[in-house]
Symmetry: C2
Subunit: 200 residues, 2 copies
């Protein structure tokens, strides 16, 4: 039952903050967002019911921490996916596919990231990830287009697909495993490149 690296296994936990986050993500995955309980997190981390309050002033603060974790990882996944690609459109595609991949790999995080309603949520949460997308979109559409509209358009597609998948709105066969999801994402982009988007 190693409690992890440093800190005696006695009174103090050692890395309770991370342990609570981990427990919360597990709990949400098991029971759903609405049934998350700080006290249950504490139990799973092996501490008393009020211990998490030393690290998170409020339940919402815990969720904000999860969201921040998610945005950070999403940003890095986007960067990694676009690495080495030069054509703006290829880069945008790559980000989009990575976005959807992130969604199925970290469904709890994505859900929490876009649940807002969180009080005390820092204004610029997720800004890096957003700006990366906006710049990529602007590079595709050129300088004549309102960047905010370009960003909204480029963001909506992978975001919508991700949310629909998380909500179980996409038939199960089409999202059976990670490869299937990636294929779906690519074909969604292809459709908007082709018959859905192209000239009629």
């Amino acid at each position: 039952m190693g409690r992890s690296k440093k800190a005696s296994d006695g009174y103090h936990h050692g890395d309770l903050r991370a342990a609570v986050i981990r427990a919360a993500v597990e709990l949400i995955a098991e029971r759903g967002h609405a049934k998350l309980s700080l006290r249950e997190c504490a139990r799973r981390a092996g501490v008393s019911h009020a211990a998490p309050y030393r690290h998170f002033p409020t339940k919402d603060a815990l969720l904000v921490a999860i969201a921040a974790e998610g945005f950070d990882e999403l940003y890095r996944a986007g960067l990694a996916a676009m690495e080495g690609l030069d054509d703006p459109r290829d880069r945008l595609d790559a980000y989009g596919v990575a976005y959807v991949r992130f969604a199925v790999q970290h469904p709890v995080h994505l859900r929490v990231m876009f649940t807002a309603e969180l009080e005390g949520c820092p204004e610029d949460l997720g800004r890096e990830a957003f700006e990366l997308l906006e710049h990529t979109a602007v590079a595709v559409v050129g300088p004549g287009v309102d960047p905010r509209a370009a960003a909204a358009a480029a963001w909506s597609l992978p975001h919508g697909l991700s949310m629909l998948i998380l909500d179980g709105r996409i038939p199960a066969e089409v999202v059976a495993d990670e490869a299937a999801v990636e294929a779906l994402a690519r074909s969604v982009y292809a459709l908007w490149r082709g018959p859905l988007g192209g000239a009629g």
Copy 2:
């Protein structure tokens, strides 16, 4: 303080079911999804704390009722928007714009509709709205394309845009009022028709 149409203003309420739903939507709009409380709904409806249980066996059942209401209205909004249009692409656009309009007009409903995680949620919740979209999308892309992929692609765009707006992820100026939102939706479609989608 007329309690509405029939039913004496005494022991029995008359239309408690609808009153509870109304109160729940208000409450979520004010305090957020997570802080919805059946007891507070009961208070606002002017009944005792357990009265809602005569109409909803569980809190989730109340949310399912709200979602059903939303899907029904979304379906009818889509139908109305496409009425009189013949070109499949125009019809798909019209549905999409109506989808986003619905989102800003009924943010609570849309949020609840796509929160899933609801236990005892009927399998085919929202099927009408979905099938309408799928048929419209298939009419655009033709018979050679997997209908599930076509539906996913056509659905992702308005859904993603709606969710981003509800989450406050789109700059406030761009979604200041209903007209601005509609203009944004149209320009998102135009971008995927043009520089984002078209041949480079």
